[in-house]
Amino acid sequence: MSSQEESSHNESLSADEIRSAANRRLGFKMAWIVLGSLLFAFSLVPLYNVLCTVTGLNGKTNDTATTLNDTKVDTTRWVTVQFTSSTMPGLGWNFQPKQASLKVRPGQVETALFEAKNITSQVVSGRAVPSVTPGVAASHLKKIECFCFQKQALNPGETKVMPLRFFVSPDIPDDIKEMTLSYAFFSVENAQ
């Protein structure tokens, strides 16, 4: 190999080195995008909750008590609130609404009763998770007092009547004449 070829060989090597350094730099820049979208995935969890609260997506209702201000009762129309319930696997309870539906005036405070019976031979705790259909009605169902705000414990064989005090906000759009409030009771043996 002549000396001239040798030197050109070295030059091309160093050009290679320059390029591989540039490649590594761009590679790391791309890694930042990867990290960014990983953070984005986790930030979607709180963002999704905010979105659900704002839009009533998934029929989430308030999970703390609403205070009753002097809400005017709208006597010009009726809204029917239907009640359904389900007991999730792993919870040995019978859980039923005591009334299938209530016809209410928007703004009027009403009480709905639910009955739960522990059919196992142990003390069991459960928690009720509400959902309202249609989703747009969710934010108009205001709860003053609800058994779903805390977890509930039942002794073996105990039956408990659980009250829900609520009103339908008078702001509810005219076209919503019916809504369904569903409670799913979950076991909280492992959950907090």
Binding site: A22, N23, V34, A41, F42, G135, A191
Partner: protein, 530 residues
């Protein structure tokens, strides 16, 4: 294949042989070969799983397997076909062809490239190991939730779910590494004079794919990690009892899952115009329009995810938004179809196997796209959701649109890679058997779906029996005809008629200027593109 080239490159003379060559290689052609081989093996593994399913569905009633095992086969079939067959095939072609097409000596980050590949076999083992463990009484088998991992089912599932979650982590890291490598290669390693707007379409398809992958795979990784902590560490991301929401998982999953569809298809949309222009013997029509359509589809694909669960309950404005944005994707796609057809228009066409696959691909992928428009319609989707119509639709896009496109690429570039011509008669036989049996497998499934047969069930009502029987028989023909493909590839690697450097009369592009097979180290001196 590399001995002559190595003689000119003293610094690489001592590269190891045998198994160590493949374990330690950083050569883009070696790694590409490994990706393609792995993909072919996993394609056969996933295919055997679905033949098990079709055998069970041959008649109503439970004959061969328990429902739980049936569900495991369905979920693992999908994960293997998507992550271990289609994606590695596209990455394999990227490794082989991108440096050759853009005149680069190798991929930009060769070590990363090696690592990206070697994460794949362990993840394939993680996916399938629970089947074997169950035989020895450990656990209850593989993932039985379908490939979508929907909670609460996936929270209740057995160890198969954990195995699948870790497999997805590894597969995700592998694709992210591959993508970073491709982006860096395309930005930094192009031959002098090759501007971005002179890159071959295949390189463009992969550039968009790579960006989609690094933006969305981490979201999937995050979602399955949350699932893992829900299962074992007492968090409640998706557990309604603890204040979580199972629907959130569907949003996270499909935020990844819909772009994934285009991740699988964009590289193929790169092959197609290149093959068309070769066998039509005229330049491709509308290069710029195709590139801009790629960008438009890539951008739209990340904002339409919720059309996968219209029936999960959403406010009407959201339904309308996702419906219209989904349908908007058909506009750039129509531009692509127009360009493909116009490329063939008045060309001097000949129908060698790659061209047969490509033309067949255009028709079948078109059917896949049009049935997708039907599913995007919120009102119609209420009926079609979770039915066999969906199964037929996504097999038209992913088997015809994905795998048949990959096969076109295999026949097109195999002579370049191996230096030998494949057996043209067997290739044509493979095409016709595949195309006919594919249609006979999936057209009945459209009708089954319209008639109301739900997907992912091992048993069905009697009125579905005839269509299922046709579909099962055709599926076995489809599966067996892939053995012709495997035989043809192996015999081409072993020998055959020598291929010329240009291989195809109308082929243009840098990869056809190299010898067939190309030297182990190509383009050490970069070519200048005018």
């Amino acid at each position: 294949m590399s001995t002559t080239a190595v003689a000119h490159h003293d610094e690489h003379a001592a590269h190891p042989t045998g198994i160590m060559r493949w374990l330690t290689t950083t050569n883009h052609k070696d790694i590409g070969t490994m990706y393609l081989t792995f993909s072919l093996i996993m394609f056969l593994v996933g295919g055997c799983m679905i033949l098990g399913i079709r055998a069970e569905l041959f008649q109503p009633g439970l004959q061969l397997m328990k429902p739980d095992f049936f569900n495991q086969l369905i979920g693992v079939h999908a994960l293997i076909m998507i992550f271990a067959a289609l994606m590695p095939a596209a990455t394999g072609f990227a490794n082989w062809m991108i440096p050759l097409q853009i005149g680069a000596p190798d991929m930009a980050l060769p070590r990363l490239n090696n690592w990206g590949f070697w994460l794949l076999p362990p993840s394939a083992i993680l996916l399938t190991l629970p089947f074997t463990l169950a035989l020895f009484g450990i656990g209850d088998g593989a993932l039985a939730t379908g490939w979508t991992f929907y909670p609460p089912l996936s929270i209740q599932g057995g160890i198969g779910v954990d195995f699948a979650i870790f497999a997805v982590h590894l597969l995700g890291i592998s694709s992210v590494l591959g993508s970073i490598n491709i982006i860096v290669t395309l930005f930094n390693m192009r031959a002098p004079g090759m501007t971005l707007m002179k890159m071959p379409m295949f390189a463009w398809g992969w550039l968009i794919t790579a960006f989609l992958l690094i933006a969305t795979i981490p979201v999937l990784a995050g979602a399955v990690t949350m699932l893992l902590t829900d299962r074992h560490f007492g968090t409640h991301f998706f557990d309604a009892a603890g204040g979580g929401d199972p629907i959130l998982f569907q949003h996270l999953f499909w935020f990844f899952g819909h772009p994934e569809v285009y991740i699988l298809l964009l590289p193929v949309w790169g092959f197609i115009p290149q093959i068309l222009q070769t066998f039509s013997r005229k330049p491709m029509y509308g290069y710029k329009a195709q590139v801009y359509s790629f960008w438009a589809i890539g951008a739209l694909s990340v904002v339409v995810w919720a059309h996968h669960f219209f029936t999960a309950g959403m406010p009407v404005p959201a339904l309308l938004y996702f419906m219209y944005s989904t349908m908007a994707i058909s506009l750039p796609l129509a531009v692509l179809f127009f360009c493909w057809i116009k490329t063939m228009w008045r060309g001097s066409m000949s129908f060698e196997t790659p061209m047969l696959f490509t033309v067949g691909w255009i028709i079948l992928f078109g059917i896949g796209g049009l049935t997708g428009l039907v599913l995007a319609d919120v009102a119609a989707d209420a009926q079609y959701h979770n039915s066999y119509f969906v199964v037929a639709h996504f097999h038209y896009t992913l088997f015809a649109g994905g795998i048949m496109g990959i096969m076109a690429g295999v026949y097109y570039w195999l002579p370049k890679m191996t230096g030998h011509m494949y057996n043209e008669k067997l290739g044509k036989l493979h095409f016709w058997l595949t195309a006919i049996s594919f249609n006979l497998t999936f057209i009945p499934q459209f009708f089954l779906g319209l008639a109301g047969m739900p997907r992912r069930i091992p048993d069905y009502a009697l009125q579905f029996a005839e269509f299922n029987m046709i579909s099962s028989i055709a599926a076995f023909v489809l599966g067996l005809s892939q053995l012709i493909f495997v035989y043809n590839i192996i015999s081409t690697i072993k020998g055959g008629k020598k291929a010329s450097d240009q291989v195809w009369e109308g082929a243009e592009g840098l990869e056809w200027t190299l010898s067939s097979p190309p030297p182990y180290h190509s383009f050490s001196e970069q070519p200048i593109v005018k």
